[in-house]
């Protein structure tokens, strides 16, 4: 159990929660967060938003019962978390390369810490017009801009907007359909997949999918994969 330092509402349903403790994680890894003892049977996978000395932060959106519970926690309350889990983005391979970080919706969460670890990143935040007020978007833009040049795209398809030739890699997180489209635009696209999870350690097979022709576990082998190797069955269904 860890103590909550702060749990700030930064948009309609957007929150950033900071938790006390000593943590080590790579950008793109995630933790399993849970509350209220065993009343909640499944922990919720949430990406690392930021890691600092003696604290870690998560950015999350309230979508159901579990995240609603998180949103009600206050400074001083306790929370249980396990992790870090999975493999993050290939930071060391692209440390000083030019990288586009493209987030869609809550997919912007892992990009903050990711930008911090890269020397030459550019951040593109895809936010829709419902979730955040103009001010809130500006606030987020400024927040992210502390680590890299940041642009905010509202309700636009970023795969159409950018000149991908100038990047060595694209690292993205967001709706599958967005990530799928990006995959077609550049050779080195790294995507972060989302699946309902039970164990987060590779034990339950709740989160498997096909990558590079093999069954992989998103929790353990991912959540970050090379986009071109992912089989987008689900995303393609939506096209």
């Amino acid at each position: 159990m860890y103590k909550i330092i702060s749990n700030q509402q930064i948009g309609n349903d957007f929150y950033i929660m900071a938790i006390e403790g000593s943590f080590e994680a790579n950008p793109g890894q995630f933790y399993m967060l849970r509350g209220i003892g065993s009343f909640m049977t499944l922990s919720r996978p949430i990406s690392v938003f930021d890691v600092g000395k003696d604290k870690i932060a998560f950015m999350y959106r309230v979508v159901g019962e579990g995240t609603k519970y998180f949103s009600k926690l206050k400074e001083g309350d306790e929370i249980t978390l396990y992790g870090p889990y999975g493999n993050g983005y290939p930071v060391s391979d692209y440390k000083d390369k030019k990288v586009a970080l493209i987030g869609g919706g809550m997919g912007i969460a892992p990009l903050f810490y990711l930008a911090k670890q890269l020397d030459n990143a550019e951040i593109h935040l895809g936010l829709n017009s419902r979730d955040l007020t103009a001010e809130q978007k500006q606030y987020l833009g400024q927040l992210y801009a502390t680590h890299a040049p940041t642009t905010i795209h509202i309700d636009t398809d970023m795969s159409e907007k950018l000149d991908f030739s100038k990047y060595d890699a694209v690292m993205t997180c967001g709706p599958e359909i967005m990530m799928y489209k990006l995959t077609k635009k550049h050779e080195n696209v790294y995507v972060s997949l989302e699946k309902h999870m039970g164990c987060a350690v590779g034990a339950c097979l709740s989160c498997t999918c096909d990558v590079a022709g093999k069954r992989v576990k998103v929790c353990k082998d991912g959540p970050v994969f090379k986009g071109s190797e992912v089989s987008y069955d689900d995303a393609i269904k939506l096209l």
Binding site: M40, L42, E65, G198, G202, A203, C204, L205, R215
Partner: protein, 313 residues
């Protein structure tokens, strides 16, 4: 004071076994504790042929429980015997193969492969494959595969057929894993015992439904999915008590066990061994906590052997 016991001609260092499908192939929770502290590990359910499992969402939360629709994703019996089982050899515990099937033939063929494998290992015929299957848990109760499995677990006739035929080809100790969806679980248990099962394992998940009312469709592609976890514990406990009273072979009880106290309830209801499944998702240290908690309870209550409290209810 000891938690050690012998069943199926096997020595269990304690009655706590990781349930099939929730503990991978034994390696996955190593970051939390050494799996050798467990009495046994039931590996993910295997079938004759490899399976990709079900499409769509595979797990979700319900009040006090979870629903899963994995659909027996597994590498197939042969691959399991050659690979995952061998990796399990580093773990000092009873190794249980959970065998499912879609037709009588696939059960028999799967069992034959295990039998042959064990014979080779015992004869030292194979130098590479040195780990044998200690116990087979015959899964006639998976609600998540359309083709069958559970079909054999619903009625006595189904159970009779598959247990009889598998027993013919399998000399490895075998417990049959029953479904709470059985028409009469006590009678199915008795049938399995009569047909030569060395033990009864229960319960698998309940067939259940969750609907996404906004999308107006079931949450799971397969419509129904299996309910497990604390929510089902009181029902599981009742079934375990009834079965334990009805059969003479050892009973492996499970369904919602998340704490040592839960485990002791099952033992008091007559279980010889217990399994924890969903518990690991709630608390990755669950297995360790249960083992240590039972020990603490025995000390506190001055219980020398679990036989003192087994089946006292």
């Amino acid at each position: 004071m000891t938690m050690q016991s012998n069943y199926f001609n096997l020595s269990f260092k304690n009655p706590v076994i990781a349930a099939s499908g929730t503990f991978g192939f034994g390696q996955e929770y190593k970051a939390y504790y050494n799996p050798s502290i467990l009495g046994g590990i039931s590996a993910k359910g295997i079938t004759l042929e490899a399976r990709r499992g079900n499409s769509g969402i595979r797990i979700t939360e319900t009040a006090g429980g979870i629903m899963n629709s994995i659909g027996l994703e597994n590498p197939g019996v042969e691959s399991f015997l050659a690979d995952e089982l061998q990796q399990m050899s580093t773990i000092d515990t009873v190794k249980i193969a959970n065998l499912g099937g879609s037709t009588l033939e696939t059960y028999i063929e799967g069992a034959k492969l295990i039998e042959e494998h064990n014979k080779k290992v015992k004869a030292n015929a194979s130098t590479l494959l040195h780990t044998a299957v200690d116990l087979v848990e015959l899964n006639i109760s998976c609600p998540n595969v359309k083709e069958g499995g559970i079909a054999f677990g619903i009625t006595c006739e189904g159970a009779e057929k598959v247990v009889r035929e598998v027993r013919k080809v399998l000399s490895v100790p075998m417990a049959v894993k029953l479904s709470p969806n059985a028409e009469n679980i006590v009678n199915v248990a008795k049938t399995c015992e009569y047909e030569g099962a060395d033990g009864i394992s229960l319960i698998n998940t309940f067939s259940a439904l969750k609907i996404d009312i906004k999308k107006r469709r079931p949450v799971f592609d397969n419509v129904y999915a299996g309910l497990s976890g604390p929510a089902i514990k009181p029902i599981a406990l009742k079934m375990v008590r009834e079965v334990a009273k009805a059969v003479k072979v050892p009973v492996i009880g499970m369904g919602g066990i998340t704490t040592a106290e839960d485990a002791i309830e099952f033992i008091m209801a007559g279980a010889h061994l217990i399994q924890f499944g969903t518990a690991s998702f709630i608390n990755p240290y669950a297995g360790k906590d249960i083992v240590e908690g039972i020990e603490a309870f025995m000390k506190e209550e001055n219980i020398k052997s679990l036989d003192e409290i087994r089946g006292i209810i």
